[in-house]
Symmetry: none
Subunit: 201 residues, 4 copies
């Protein structure tokens, strides 16, 4: 719940202390017992908070966890506003993909991210929220790097950037979600190479 006015009914009297405790408890617990056995009751107890305080500000455990993850990534990094741009698109993408793979292999991210992604598949409201607050900024960052490559003549001017982003990251996400294969640096490289071969002018 980073952006104040969007989701908070009346942020004025809200207890920052409780908010932090809830997000922390949610992350802790999802790591300990998994998403399926994560419960609002449990989060409240761990956070030393009344259940109502959670229900007042979040509609579901999925929403709590989403905010927790968002807060986590905001704390961890300082919002990396852009992908690396060394001039060499292929090298840059490989680097990014390898980093993504590493992140997805970190159990601190894997469990909660996986849970969140499962949740949004069912719940269109949650899905819209995630799309707006997570996917769109990320996609924009990726498209920005591709635009830079277009300017450098490494990609055709008329390329459908949304499609391109999907071509690059879609297979990776799929392999991660469905565990349909190992996530190795070699896979990252092979994927980038194969896709770029098709995209280049």
């Amino acid at each position: 719940m980073a952006q104040p006015p969007a989701t908070r009914p009346n942020a004025s009297r809200r207890s920052e202390r409780s908010r932090r405790a809830i997000l922390a408890a949610a992350l802790d617990l999802v790591g300990e017992v998994g998403y399926a056995r994560l419960s609002i009751e449990g989060i409240a107890a761990r956070a030393g908070v009344g259940k109502q305080t959670i229900y007042r500000w979040w509609p579901s455990k999925g929403a709590v966890l989403f905010d927790a993850i968002l807060a986590l990534s905001e704390d961890a990094e300082g919002r990396p506003a852009a992908l690396p741009d060394s001039g060499d698109l292929e090298a840059d993408l490989k680097q990014v993909m390898r980093a993504t793979i590493e992140e997805l292999s970190d159990p601190r991210f894997d469990e909660p991210l996986r849970a969140l992604t499962a949740e949004r598949m069912h719940d269109p409201v949650l899905a819209a929220d995630h799309a707006e607050r997570l996917d769109e900024p990320m996609t924009e960052i990726k498209k920005e790097r591709l635009r830079s490559a277009q300017r450098a003549g490494q990609l055709p001017e008329d390329l459908d950037l949304d499609l391109a982003v999907e071509l690059i990251w879609g297979p990776l996400l799929n392999r991660w979600l469905l565990r349909s294969g190992p996530l190795t640096p070699g896979y990252a490289d092979a994927l980038v190479e194969a896709v770029l071969r098709g995209l280049r002018p």
Copy 2:
């Protein structure tokens, strides 16, 4: 869900009547209330069956639903053992992709498939079962078509077929699962064209 439902030799005393009623009830209910609020208790009541009869034969509601979907797709089609092979890989793939999109847009398939996919993301046991009984046969069928294209010289001999399958179907699955864009015939065509451009020798 233990035995492949086609031949169940030693399930001597098992009531076929109840089995069908359970699978039908599961499909009905998942369509009515969604996967999250689907319950074994509810399935039993709808099927006019004791709860124990479900627990005796399936380990979880996910397993019931999986069998239900398997039975559904078996009834619907007659197991298409191969992808179309007209000699024109691009045309064939476009046709298959368009058909897939149509299937995924059918609410009779959408909800339960989505639920199933979400479930397997958490549960590695379920995931392995799905991989074995659903993904592997499907992937083999797809790879077979690509092999045929290799023989026809439309794809390089040393192509990594598993990667190729992921490149083609991964983005589509992703768009469907995450609702990150509309599933249109045009999208199918653009996807196939872009990927094949990269794969061709």
Copy 3:
């Protein structure tokens, strides 16, 4: 409920407006939902008042209701300082009993009085308060009428007046509280006759 509401000298800053609204809301609500589901939260909301304003001046919902009933009976009558005294004790008592029965049948009094009486059965503090502010004045009034009868030679000089009051009003109260029989004018008469037969010299 601290100060007798008639004279409240030092409640300097207290809002008379809120006090009235609270008592009125309490009476309204107890009539609508009954005592068990009456809540301070509900009274505050109905009265358009902060919860704290209630907690500041009353210790419990029972105390609020007690004041509300007291205020009600003060408004309704002008404090009848004495029972009727026509010289005929039996006739006077019958009249009073019939009036009491009528009052107890009025739903405006029945529910809240019943609630109050139930409450004081548990809570000795409340009970003492009620005894002091409600019962003792009433009992004194009743005993006064009996004393007059003693002076007129209709009752023995050495009669235990407290016991006599209990003998007359006890059965009536019991029948009302426990609903152990219908409250009719005939019952009032029979009761008075039977008791007086035993009390007379």
Copy 4:
């Protein structure tokens, strides 16, 4: 819930073990924390029983407690089917009243009985249940003793027995419930004497 078919939906599969544990826990707890802080949740926990098992068989904590008290008095005595009958009505009644006073002074009975009586004042359903299962048998026993006195010529033939019972026991119950005076053997005697004086032919 002593009488099987009256209150049990389907007594066949009911766990006698749980039933006993629940009634015992209810009595224990009401003694420890009082009726107001007695909770179904608490009873269930103390009895080592699921809450649903209580809700399945009783509609409210008041109903549980009523059964608990009924069971208690059934265990304690062997159903005293009649009041003592020595031929001397006054002596017999004094003895009974003194015994009643003693029982009402026993905290093992006082708290729960008081709570129950308060509860039935609000809840007409509970009230009817109590009237049927507790009051009516008791009243019948009392009336039987009075009928015997009628036969012995100690009471008039045309006496309204229901009224007589109320005259004798009503004041006592009232004094107990409202704590409007001390419950002493002397009070019992005075009460019986005064009432009988009025009832005798």
